[in-house]
């Protein structure tokens, strides 16, 4: 299969993942769009290194979250390299949808977590099991369990406060 076609199929299947990671790690739509572009570009660059030892989404999460961390260093310093009307994806419809309010609330709560907890909760919300979370994050499965219960407690407290 043509590499570009295979890549296009992979992205189309996991575009939600890219949107969600980009959105959680940024504070505004411009940064989110920049980050989603950067994630796709980095995924493309390392597409050959994906050896199907893990699932596609596991590999994509690992790359996307690492790129998001890298992007945190660059925010506010780098201008977008591709004009907005020529982006890989267009999230305008989502930005004006009804779900956006709920999404913003969720984002606000997750934003109060530190970067490690943020990474874990993203994967938990995406229904990854403890082994997969441990594999992507690079910590032990038992630590994932402990961390998750603490994060849930923190989030519950935040929900009660809000």
């Amino acid at each position: 299969m043509d590499k570009k076609y295979a890549f296009k199929t992979a992205i189309n299947k996991n575009v939600g993942l890219i949107f969600k990671v980009s959105s959680i790690y940024t504070n505004n739509k411009e940064d989110r769009n920049d980050l989603s572009q950067e994630i796709i570009y980095q995924l493309w660059k390392s597409f050959d290194s994906f050896q199907q030892k893990s699932s596609l989404s596991t590999w994509m999460y690992r790359v996307a979250m690492n790129v998001a961390i890298q992007h945190l260093k660059m925010t506010k310093r780098i201008v977008s390299t591709v004009p907005l009307n020529e982006q890989f994806l267009n999230f305008e419809d989502i930005d004006n949808s009804e779900i956006e309010k709920k999404w913003e609330l969720l984002k606000r709560h997750i934003d109060n977590l530190n970067l490690l907890d943020k990474g874990i909760i993203i994967l938990y919300l995406d229904n990854k099991n403890h082994e997969e979370i441990a594999h992507i994050i690079g910590i032990s499965t038992s630590k994932v369990g402990t961390k998750l219960s603490r994060i849930k407690e923190k989030l519950k407290k935040q929900i009660l406060k809000s």
């Binding site: 570009k4 189309n12 939600g16 570009y41 690992r62 690492n66 995406d126 849930k152 809000s162």
Partner: protein
């Protein structure tokens, strides 16, 4: 919002995005080309401008060295040249460290550890820069009166006293505010590193 609602919102958002999008891979080639140019943009412009000013000042003092006729002025001149080289060097080094690219295939925890260590280093270097601004300001005041002061000694003294006081008050408030912010960031980074290593 309950925890279960989180999951529903998460899933709903994913579905919503997926039904609306169609990835356009044609831009990939264009992006590969523009990435090359963006490497230059990655170097922070404010840091470069500030560094040029500092290096320029060091060169200027070097050229005016023969005007500095006493041991004290010569000492001040040398110290200022060193500070004008050291300060931007620290700044450029810390920015360059920030832009070090990470291996995106590493685990998230490893990337986070590296990022946190770099972040702590960056803020510690920034603190050092601000601390060095204190002697820089004092030495600068002495040299400015020598190089540009064409007035009587009394007027020079007034200028120095006023300049010192004003500069130090501004610097004191600025550094107090910035240090408080930096210390909080360093503390948080330290906590995260502890969490990652246990």
């Amino acid at each position: 919002m309950e925890l279960d609602d989180y999951k529903n919102t998460w899933d709903e958002m994913g579905e919503k995005v997926e039904e609306k999008q169609n990835f356009n891979p044609k831009i990939l080639n264009k992006m590969s080309k523009s990435k090359f140019n963006s490497k230059l943009q990655k170097i922070a412009i404010p840091e470069i401008i500030a560094s040029i000013i500092c290096f320029g000042s060091a060169i200027y003092i070097g050229f005016q060295f023969n005007v500095l006729n006493t041991v004290l002025f010569k000492f001040v001149g040398v110290a200022l040249i060193l500070l004008f080289i050291l300060l931007p060097a620290i700044s450029l080094y810390s920015v360059q460290q920030l832009y070090k690219s990470v291996d995106i295939n590493k685990s998230y925890a490893d990337t986070l550890k590296e990022f946190t260590v770099q972040k702590m280093k960056f803020y510690k270097l920034q603190k050092l820069n601000i601390t060095l601004s204190y002697p820089l300001l004092a030495l600068l005041m002495i040299l400015v009166t020598k190089l540009f002061g064409k007035h009587t000694n009394d007027e020079n003294a007034y200028f120095m006293i006023f300049g010192f006081c004003f500069g130090y008050v501004v610097l004191l408030f600025f550094s107090k505010w910035v240090f408080k912010k930096y210390n909080r960031i360093i503390r948080q980074a330290d906590d995260l590193l502890n969490e990652l290593s246990t």
